[in-house]
């Protein structure tokens, strides 16, 4: 395994001192695992399970060559939400599932379908992203095989592990938080991101 894993990059000199303490968000739980999508021995898939009743918004690259995952997310966000349905987000690093023709959507369907089955939610409420190498078929069976472990590991406090699992050339996991005080108690916001190269977003 050690021989197969690339040397980790040094942490950027511009990195924050530490990953922030992100609050748990009621209604969401996270898990991450090592599925061996591209490299063995590192976490590379994260799952977020979202309780019924959530509202979801999004923005995506307007690239005319955008990936199957992006197209699938855009289509699903435009759909009517089934009554009482939960939702999920599954993300892998190591392979972008991009520019592989019809195979891209086949992989999206396999992954989101397996998550839907495991969590007993509609596939139309499972959003996926993939990041990593372009032009190689996603070995989606490795992700599908890992879904049981992901489901078993779901926990409200798992957001930092999720942030780490989606890193590629990133040198640190990215997180941010904010809170809004209201008379009925605080509204909490917690976010994670990955990104380090191929960055000039044109989101809409």
């Amino acid at each position: 395994v050690a021989a197969a894993v690339k040397k980790a990059h040094d942490v950027s000199p511009l990195a924050p001192a530490a990953f922030p303490a992100l609050p748990e968000i009621a209604g969401v739980s996270f898990a991450a695992t090592a599925a061996g999508v591209r490299y063995a021995g590192r976490t590379d898939v994260m799952l977020a399970s979202i309780a019924p009743g959530a509202a979801i918004a999004g923005a995506f690259t307007t690239s005319s060559t955008r990936s199957a995952c992006v197209l699938d997310c855009q289509a699903k966000l435009a759909m009517t939400v089934p009554e009482g349905a939960g939702a999920a987000i599954i993300v892998n690093s190591g392979n972008a599932n991009a520019f592989t023709g019809a195979q891209g959507q086949t992989s999206v369907d396999a992954v989101t379908g397996a998550v839907a089955e495991a969590l007993a939610i509609p596939a139309s409420r499972v959003f996926s992203s993939s990041t990593g190498v372009i032009g190689e078929p996603l070995p989606h069976e490795r992700i599908v095989e890992a879904i049981g472990a992901l489901k078993a590991g779901l926990a409200p406090a798992g957001i930092e592990a999720a942030a780490r699992a989606i890193m590629t050339t990133d040198t640190f996991p990215k997180g941010a938080t904010a809170e809004v005080a209201t008379p009925d108690g605080p509204i909490r916001i917690a976010g994670i991101a990955k990104g380090s190269g191929m960055i000039a977003p044109n989101m809409a």
């Binding site: 591209r38 009743g53 917690a190």
Partner: protein
């Protein structure tokens, strides 16, 4: 690739959440660049679980504005962290453009500077090379007038009215460029439009990473 997932316990409809997200993209994730390349996978999802008490119904309400400000802060924080992790980056650079005739022109100039390999390598080399900024403004396609242009690094004005400022201190400017965080400001002197974007320097390490890592 940039992937972003934001979770909140706010109670808000998907339509209203989408409006808030959409109008805050321009000043956050669409205001950054590392290498001027756009991924085929860039995605942002914002999930509101509805578990917090008060529902946000009216986007003109105080609560909605406070929520939007907080969400905007998180979006900008994450966007800046992506730049801070720009492959090989050693400098975090804020590019402030003011005095443009239109918003479109302000953005053109800001990104022409932020994406300029010559400006970015000058920053890597700790060289207060305002001439490269002039060149970036000129190539941007935005309306600009050489004799109205003002260029600053940090709080120092290095060039204005078509000339180098005769008495600026090169020693002070060079010392400033040793900072990890830099501000390059350009005033076009034509109008009131402004745009701020964030980028990083371009170092040898960027080539190392992208020659090694085949994704």
């Amino acid at each position: 690739t940039m992937l972003v997932y934001i979770f909140t316990d706010a109670k808000i409809s998907a339509a209203n959440l989408q409006k808030i997200v959409s109008r805050n993209i321009g000043g956050s994730f669409n205001a950054i660049t590392v290498d001027s390349d756009t991924s085929t996978s860039d995605s942002l999802l914002v999930v509101a679980t509805g578990r917090a008490g008060t529902e946000i119904r009216d986007l003109r309400s105080k609560l909605s504005k406070e929520f939007e400000a907080a969400l905007s802060d998180v979006m900008l924080d994450l966007a800046k962290q992506v730049v801070r992790d720009g492959e090989g980056a050693s400098k975090f650079i804020e590019v402030r453009v003011t005095g443009a005739e239109s918003d479109v022109d302000a953005a053109k100039v800001a990104f022409a500077i932020a994406n300029s390999p010559l400006v970015k390598t000058a920053c890597a080399g700790e060289d207060a090379n305002w001439g490269r900024v002039v060149a970036a403004v000129g190539k941007s396609g935005a309306k600009a007038d050489r004799d109205l242009l003002k260029i600053g690094f940090g709080d120092m004005v290095l060039a204005e009215k078509g000339w180098r400022v005769p008495d600026y201190s090169e020693a002070a400017a060079s010392a400033y460029m040793k900072n990890k965080e830099l501000v390059i400001s350009v005033d076009l002197g034509l109008g009131k439009a402004a745009k701020t974007v964030w980028t990083c320097d371009l170092t040898h390490r960027y080539i190392d990473i992208n020659a090694d890592y085949r994704s």
